[in-house]
């Protein structure tokens, strides 16, 4: 039995750490590529949302390479994400692949099913060892998130473009190789020292926030490395979602900085009800970014994503009333890198001119919301 799961940002670090610790066979799907996308689009429903197609592509490629047990999270809506696993199971089965799909559902009413599934996955390892492995993996994940955050915050000052990105890759290796808590602490020190030692230069500060649907924000291949592009254009970047924050059921976001409740509160004047997914947080975080003195917000959404479509219809109003430029990127299999790069460049320029104008003439400064 070889276990696999779809790619999503740094998820692989958590999962592979767990399975290595437990010494269970697993396999990463081949890295995301154009082929992943093509496979997903070929088999996926026509206007299903983009992440369904890409994760379907991951599964197909993994099955081709020999995996036979697929892990996917399921839920109860109202977003389509909760139905991914079931839909993908049906599609893959119809396409004639041999596999079994383990749907992990974290609902109170589905706890017995969850326990049965986990027992199946752990293959005779003790519950305590599973618990330990997961705890350790989450520690790693938090570290990875903090490193990513540091990279976002310093990339704009790079003396040589791409230096932070390269350093971050080395840091990932360090974290991945850490075998115990002492090793992890060492890795933390080394990694941060390594990141901070990247030579920097003086630059004009400009701050851009990223909001949007979690898969697209977290998965660099499919968001066309928006974070990196923004950093290279000279923007201090902050994003609203980090993997461990997203996994945390309490809604506290220690890495991201402000809790879900805060962003719901901030969204109140514009969107008063939970709409599934990250819809309300996209709106709320835009307001919060304005309060924190950001110069612009980049909104990422997959094509046909329902919660983000709602956010997108409300964001122009937020932008107008709060006074912060917002650009929405609707990403699907047709999105070209050059188009996104051009728009990002123009957006960063606009935000920069706007800041200069405001600095020169404070009367231009919009009132705080």
């Amino acid at each position: 039995m070889i276990i696999t799961w779809p790619h999503m940002g740094s998820l692989e670090i958590i999962m592979s750490s767990v399975f290595e610790e437990l010494q269970i066979d697993y396999m990463l799907p081949p890295p995301n590529s154009q082929r992943t996308l093509e496979l997903g689009v070929r088999y996926g429903p026509e206007f299903a949302c983009f992440p369904l197609k890409t994760t379907l592509g991951n599964f197909i490629e993994a099955i081709e390479k020999g995996a036979d047990t697929l892990i996917m999270v399921a839920g109860k809506g109202p977003c389509r994400f909760g139905f991914y696993a079931e839909t993908q199971r049906r599609i893959l089965k119809e396409a004639g692949y041999e596999f079994q799909m383990i749907q992990l559902e974290f609902e109170p009413s589905k706890i017995p099913v969850l326990i049965r599934n986990l027992r199946f996955l752990k293959q005779g390892r003790s519950w305590i060892s599973v618990f330990r492995a997961v705890k350790f993996a989450l520690q790693k994940a938090v570290l990875v998130d903090r490193l990513e955050q540091q990279a976002l915050r310093q990339r704009w000052k790079d003396a040589r473009k791409g230096a932070t990105t390269t350093a971050l890759k080395d840091c990932y290796e360090k974290v991945r190789n850490a075998g115990d808590y002492a090793g992890l602490r060492r890795a933390e020190e080394e990694a941060f020292a390594h990141l901070l030692s990247v030579p920097n230069k003086e630059a004009e500060e400009i701050k851009i926030g990223i909001v949007g649907e979690f898969y697209l924000v977290l998965e660099p291949f499919f968001n066309l490395t928006v974070e990196e592009q923004l950093g290279d254009l000279g923007a201090f970047v902050e994003r609203n979602i980090y993997l461990t924050d997203w996994l945390r059921p309490s809604g506290e976001n220690p890495v991201g900085g402000h809790s879900d409740r805060e962003s719901e509160e901030a969204a109140k004047p514009f969107l008063t009800h939970f709409v599934g997914g990250e819809g309300i947080h996209s709106v709320g975080n835009t307001v919060i970014y304005k309060r924190l003195g950001f110069d612009g917000v980049v909104h990422l959404m997959p094509f046909t994503c329902m919660p983000e479509t709602i956010a997108k219809s409300i964001l122009p109003k937020v932008s107008r009333e709060v006074g912060i430029p917002v650009i929405s990127f609707v990403i699907d299999e047709m999105t070209g890198k050059a188009g996104v790069a051009t728009r990002l460049e123009a957006f960063v320029d606009l935000a920069r001119f706007r800041r200069r104008a405001v600095d020169r003439d404070p009367s231009l400064r919009p009132a705080l919301a």
């Binding site: 399921a74 109860k76 139905f83 079931e86 839909t87 939970f274 709409v275 046909t304 479509t309 219809s313």
Partner: protein, 342 residues
């Protein structure tokens, strides 16, 4: 419950009810409730070309067709009324949701009208039990009148009429047929062929975006059954078989109806109406097509509508489908083998 911008409530207020989305199901309920409270109800009526155009130009590109139509209805009403009535239906049944678009509807309407007009947007949510829903309805009533008995009376009257309306739909009347209590508009009268037209009520009953599909089918001598006409017991029975429960309430109806039609051969063919790019339907479609193939494999056609759908292409496909069904039915007696071309 939220009323944007404080405004003077009271009797004789003009309240607009946009004739899109859930209007096709709850319109009767809302109208009679508001009328019984003493408000003057203005409806936007049926979708027209100009309503669609203004909706398309106002709404987000990525929105689905019914939402664009809804925006159009909102736009056509906003200058004629004192307030708009856009309820937020979070859940109409325990452990289910409606589509996320309905969850954000009052807020979207607010963004679209740019707060020029107050929006009455009570939140109905069956996750939180009956009492809070009663309170929501009551506080909606308080906008119009301070007399508690009048509010309760209006609620009961509206509910009765709503039940009557739903019963009409189950018996095979079109929404307008039920409103005018016109028995001659029956969809199902024992013609030679019977086609199930399944989809969201706003996709099936909107005469403009579907280009009067139901009437046209009737003209071709085809009986139509809609999701409402499939007995609820059969629908639920089929849904229980599924390995994962569908958590959208209206999708439950659709999937249940399609599965029941396939299993019990309630119709000669199924037309599944989807509007582009409906989120839940895109997922349900996979499920329905597969299950249909497994069970009975009755002919099923999926029609995807958007604002660019041309009448010619649409009609041709329907005619071809009906011809195919007719051909198939004629051949049944001759030989079983040629029935289903694989």
């Amino acid at each position: 419950m939220q009323v944007v911008k404080s405004f003077e409530g009271g009797l004789n207020m003009k309240v607009g009810i946009p004739g899109g989305l859930l209007y096709f199901r709850y319109g009767r309920l809302w109208t009679s409730f508001l009328q019984a409270l003493g408000a003057e109800v203005v409806e936007s009526g049926e979708t027209t070309r100009s309503i669609l155009n203004s909706g398309v130009s106002k709404a987000e590109n990525e929105s689905c067709l019914p939402v664009k139509v809804f925006y159009g209805h909102v736009m056509s009403l906003k200058d004629r009324v004192d307030a708009l009535f856009v309820p937020r239906l979070v859940s109409v049944k325990k452990r289910t949701h409606t589509c996320p678009k309905m969850l954000g509807l009052p807020d979207m309407a607010r963004a679209a009208t740019e707060e020029e007009i107050p929006i009455i947007g009570p939140t109905i949510d069956f996750h939180s039990g009956l009492w809070s829903n009663y309170r929501t309805v009551y506080s909606t009533g308080r906008i119009f009148t301070t007399n508690p008995w009048r509010i309760i009376g209006a609620g009961i009257k509206a509910w009765r009429e709503h039940r009557q309306y739903l019963k009409g739909l189950t018996l095979g009347l079109t929404p307008r047929g039920t409103l005018e209590v016109d028995e001659s508009r029956r969809l199902c009268e024992g013609r030679e062929l019977r086609v199930a037209v399944i989809g969201h009520h706003y996709n099936v009953y909107d005469t403009f975006t579907t280009m009067s599909l139901l009437d046209r089918l009737k003209g071709m001598g085809v009986d139509v059954i809609t999701a409402e006409m499939v007995p609820e017991r059969l629908r639920n029975k089929e849904l229980k078989r599924l390995p994962k429960t569908i958590y959208w309430s209206y999708e439950q109806e659709i999937a249940g109806a399609i599965l029941a039609c396939a299993k019990y051969k309630l119709a000669d063919g199924i037309i599944f109406m989807i509007s582009f790019p409906c989120g839940p339907d895109s997922i349900i479609r996979v499920l329905c097509e597969q299950e249909n193939k497994l069970m009975g494999n009755i002919p099923m056609m999926t029609l995807v509508m958007d604002e660019h759908t041309g009448e010619g292409g649409f009609l041709t496909r329907i005619e071809a489908f009906v011809d195919m069904l007719r051909w198939k039915k004629d051949r049944v007696g001759e030989s079983e083998e040629v029935m289903v071309p694989a």
